[in-house]
């Protein structure tokens, strides 16, 4: 696959270099570790630190979400690989303002181990750490095993509400509670049309026929539930939304946030066509969309396809979702 890169070995370094130059008013790298990035604005003493992180290749996730009202720092891994403990620990130390740090990351074996090791080390240095794992992908394990589900685009809402809570002065336990509640209220499911490729291999991340789609695809190209003939957008949306609503039943009158997230190469036009149908379904059921997000929020390099996320809201989450944010790749008034 064609890429505008130099040496495949240095893509993450070069991306970070460009990113830091482009957004020095938002974010800076720590001298201790070149994969440890923190907000370049001064944060209040006593504010709970919000640390996000994961593999590269998901941009705007995760480095694009460091800023006011969102995360205070990010640990950056190699492409599709959890960051090691060292940058996580350095970010933790830099963003701890005495109130502890919450780690928000996706439920993947690698992240669990690396963030877990970093948390142990941070606690040895006297920093309180809470960890909240994103596990919104309904396609990745049955309902009874939600703890085994992987985190996909729904993590955006976890960052958003937890970031707002920290900004509003919530305690570490409260910020963690908000993050957990948001994750508990969030369900996503994706569909893949075309694979991406790692710069180092150039090989397609999965095999798929010219007329096929992968239902339930993970956002690293992990195979989903099944391959099927590519259908019309409405049919695909129906399937994704049905799977979500079966998992988290919503009653008439309830309010939700909806995210239609592009995986990388799917035009916004198509995302809005998917959103249109999701809105129809929800409206018919008397469920009100309180906030909509349509675009590329957590991607998989140039993968084709999208995911739909629905988060059930209450007044607390609505207030936090409405809270302003100002990050390099996410600004909300």
């Amino acid at each position: 696959m064609k890429k505008l890169i130099n040496n495949p070995t240095y893509v993450v370094e070069e991306m970070l270099d460009g990113f830091l130059k482009a957004h020095s008013n938002y974010i800076r790298v720590l001298p201790e570790n070149d994969r440890a990035l923190v907000t370049s604005r001064t944060t209040r003493e006593g504010k709970v630190g919000v640390l996000i992180g994961g593999g590269s290749g998901h941009e705007p996730g995760f480095l694009g979400y460091v800023g006011d009202g969102m995360a205070d720092g990010v640990a950056v891994g190699n492409i599709f690989a959890s960051p090691p403990p060292a940058p996580i620990l350095e970010v933790t130390k830099a963003i701890d303002k005495g109130a502890g740090v919450v780690y928000l990351y996706g439920n993947y074996a690698g992240d669990v181990m690396n963030f877990g090791m970093a948390a142990e080390l941070a606690e040895m240095e006297g920093i309180k750490v809470e960890m909240v794992l994103g596990s919104d992908d309904v396609a990745s394990a049955p309902k009874e095993e939600k703890h085994r589900r992987r985190g996909i685009a729904g993590e955006l809402f976890v960052f958003k509400t937890a970031g707002a809570a920290a900004d509003l002065g919530y305690s570490l336990e409260e910020v963690a509670r908000i993050a957990r509640k948001t994750n508990d209220h969030t369900r996503s499911m994706g569909v893949g049309l075309t694979p991406c490729s790692l710069p180092q291999t150039g090989k397609p991340s999965f095999e798929i026929g010219d007329d096929e789609m992968e239902i339930g695809l993970g956002h690293h190209g992990e195979p989903g539930i099944r391959k099927a003939k590519l259908q019309q957008a409405d049919v695909v949306t129906d399937e994704l939304v049905a799977a979500i609503l079966e998992d988290i039943p919503l009653n008439e009158g309830e309010e939700v946030a909806v995210l239609v997230n592009g995986l990388g190469s799917t035009p916004r036009m198509e995302l809005y066509i998917m959103f249109r149908r999701a809105e129809q379904i929800l409206r018919e059921k008397g469920i009100k969309i309180y906030r909509s997000y349509v675009g590329d929020y957590i991607t998989s390099l140039e993968m084709g396809g999208c995911s739909i996320t629905i988060t059930k809201l209450d007044n607390e989450l609505k207030t936090l979702l409405d809270h302003p944010a100002d990050c390099p790749m996410f600004v909300q008034k």
């Binding site: 090691p84 993947y108 181990m113 790692l198 291999t201 397609p204 190209g221 992990e222």
Partner: protein, 216 residues
């Protein structure tokens, strides 16, 4: 058998070479089961290790220091799933080899037992989960059965590698229960686990290495 620190370093260099050769194959397996990066991750990690071997560690005399430095270097270069897993192995092995400028048969036995126990503890996977544990656990059983005994290490280790290979191959017919591929269900059948494969390759490379040592 006596393995000097210089020998030990040579072995790790041979792993780097081997991983470069197997990189595409490991990625290929991971594309089918996971996110396709296992070969790339191993390569990034071992290239970083090789750097250390050629520089900071070039004149190191402490086998323990070599192993634990490799562990931390690998971990910090890759993160990922295998970063903590293999790093913990090398760190535990490093403790066993600490302050030693030569490793005897019994040291090597202990080294690999500690290595495998480290991986197990970190990952908490069980045999049958379709992970590198399916390779490592059978080897561990052989090593432990002979632990502290008098049998020639090369002989024991060669048996351990045979069991490891069987374990690795068994993953082809397993349904994945842990890690990225665990959501595949039936679709994970028919493909050998990438981590089980790289773990086997690391053990097999050590066997090759001591065979050559013994012949030389």
């Amino acid at each position: 058998m006596h393995i000097t620190t210089a020998d030990f370093i040579d072995y790790f260099k041979s792993v780097t070479e081997m991983i470069e050769k197997e990189k595409d194959y490991l990625c290929e397996l991971d594309r089918k089961l996971g996110d396709g990066d296992h070969g790339v991750t191993m390569s990034i990690g071992w290239q970083a290790v090789n750097q250390k071997l050629n520089n900071e560690l070039a004149n190191e005399s402490d086998c323990g220091k070599v192993s634990s430095t490799i562990g931390m270097t690998f971990l910090n270069a890759v993160g990922s799933s295998v970063g903590p897993l293999y790093a913990t192995g090398f760190l535990r092995g490093g403790k066993v080899a600490s302050q030693k400028s030569e490793l005897t048969d019994r040291d090597l036995e202990e080294y690999w037992i500690a290595f495998i126990n480290g991986v197990k503890e970190r990952g908490q996977a069980k045999v049958g989960d379709k992970t590198m544990i399916d390779t490592l656990e059978p080897a561990l059983i052989v090593l432990q059965a002979n632990a502290g005994g008098t049998r020639n290490f090369a002989e024991v280790f060669s048996e351990a590698v045979i069991e490891a290979e069987k374990g690795m191959k068994s993953t082809t017919n397993l349904i994945s229960k842990i890690g990225r591929s665990s959501r595949l269900g039936e679709r994970s059948l028919g493909v050998q686990d990438p981590g089980a494969t790289s773990a086997y390759l690391i053990l097999a490379a050590f066997l090759d290495f001591i065979k050559i040592k013994t012949l030389a």
